[in-house]
């Protein structure tokens, strides 16, 4: 984790979904390091406790909210946890699942699971969080999209559909709630050396080969890092991006510029 020394989020409350591991955990840690009080949401309670302990060890403040983002009542409880901390100023939508399967082999269960977590989850989170953000004087929502929300990739039918739809859901939320002082933006990473892609690479049994192959296809010749993602998310969460809303910030080493 990089330590910037600044405390851009002092006095702010931030909720992060998918916070038990990977990018969500890294983003939560950075927000806490920069002064935010955190609500950590995930289905993985043990993971949340580890991340929360690590944040506390560095002098940060985090509350855990075990949450399945596909369940309305659980999302409402997560937002309630933020309200108990005094409001909500930053919401990072990082919870996601990835199923690698071509369209014709994607069964209804897989399809529904990906759409529920990656699209309905952000919908429910925004639906419950925005009213609290408005009561808190406004805020910033940052959703983790994907390069695959903008370009096609063989074998990722449901995932591509969910991330593409997420982009327009966020644009819609942005224009609908801009006048309320709520900004909504998307960060779209390509393959990173942490998170879903890294996990898939590890499972392949030849992780380094897979990572090198994917990196070689990126104009910048490397994978994204947790630091790359954290800097982008914190930029969009902070006042540095005060006039930026409904934007998609690619974090892909130039990949999409070559493919569109």
């Amino acid at each position: 984790m990089s330590t910037s020394g600044s405390r851009r989020f002092a006095g702010r409350v931030a909720a992060v979904t998918g916070a038990a591991s990977g990018l969500g955990a890294a983003i939560a840690a950075r927000l806490a390091a920069e002064g935010a009080r955190l609500v950590l949401a995930d289905v993985d309670r043990a993971g949340l406790e580890r991340v929360s302990a690590a944040i506390a060890e560095r002098g940060g403040a985090a509350t855990i909210a075990p949450t399945d983002v596909t369940r309305d009542t659980e999302v409402a409880a997560m937002v309630g946890a933020a309200e108990a901390l005094g409001g909500l100023h930053v919401l990072v939508l990082s919870a996601a699942v990835e199923i690698r399967r071509p369209l014709v082999e994607t069964d209804d269960t897989d399809w529904q699971r990906v759409l529920d977590v990656n699209l309905k989850g952000p919908f429910l989170c925004m639906k419950h969080a925005i009213p609290l953000m408005v009561r808190s004087g406004g805020g910033s929502i940052v959703a983790l999209g994907s390069t695959l929300g903008a370009i096609g990739q063989p074998g990722y039918a449901a995932y591509c559909a969910s991330k593409g739809a997420l982009v327009n859901l966020c644009k819609q939320a942005a224009v609908e709630h801009a006048a309320d002082g709520v900004r909504v933006n998307v960060v779209s990473p390509s393959a990173c050396d942490v998170g879903l892609f890294a996990r898939v690479a590890e499972q392949s049994g030849r992780a380094e080969q897979v990572k090198a192959m994917v990196a070689s296809n990126v104009p910048m010749r490397r994978l994204g890092t947790a630091d790359d993602v954290c800097e982008a998310v914190l930029f969009l969460a902070s006042e540095a991006s005060a006039y930026v809303s409904a934007a998609v910030l690619p974090l892909d080493g130039g990949l999409a510029a070559r493919r569109q």
Binding site: S2, S6, A257
Partner: protein, 258 residues
Amino acid sequence: MIDAGTSLAGKVALITGAASGQGRAAAVLFAHHGARIAIADVNDAGAAETVRLAQAAGADALAVHADVSRHDDNARMVATTVARFGRLDVLYNNAAVQMSGRLVDCTEADWDLTLATNLSAIFWACRAAVPHMLASEGGSIINTASVLGLIGSEGYAAYGAAKAGLVALTRQLAVELAPRIRANVIAPGSIDTPRFRKVVDDLADGEGFLRGLMQHVPLKRLGTADDIARVALFLASDASAYTSGCVLPCDGGLAALR
């Protein structure tokens, strides 16, 4: 306190159109973040004032007279910058002209000037700057396009075409110059700068125009030069180290609505 991610300490930035508005705001913000700065503009008095502001922020700064619509001025401004500071890390192509007029009323002279200033100038500046960027640590190119490069709007045929061309040129730069040079676009919406105010003041019903405009801006305000400068700082700095070929609207949500 300055976030380490957005520090420009040790870096040299060349900003065109920096005698006022967005370019000046960026020069001052970059100065606060440790950069040495070359300020290029046709307006020498304005450039001198930006130099003074950047120096007051603690930076070494230099004014360079340049009419970016002229091929040779682009090469010269890059050479002058490198001669003074010894390197070039950030090229921020901010200078532009904006002439409105429907396509059928757009004169050939207006078309040529718009395309030269808003598109060819960036090609010329990048061609001159890239070898110097590669000679040190690589760098970041920031090109100011416009939401009018993304969406259509009545009366901006030449301007919209040039800005859309700039978006495409930037994607090309990003792919071709990776991994050592990043290239990104800022697409501002309506920004409250002296130039914008002059356009509004020249209208018969400026206030009515502004009210109409606000109906299309979800955030319900004009942007400020500082709004754009903070986005430019993000793109100039290592905070955006893995972002290239990106078009980042800074428009209060305008493009999404349209």
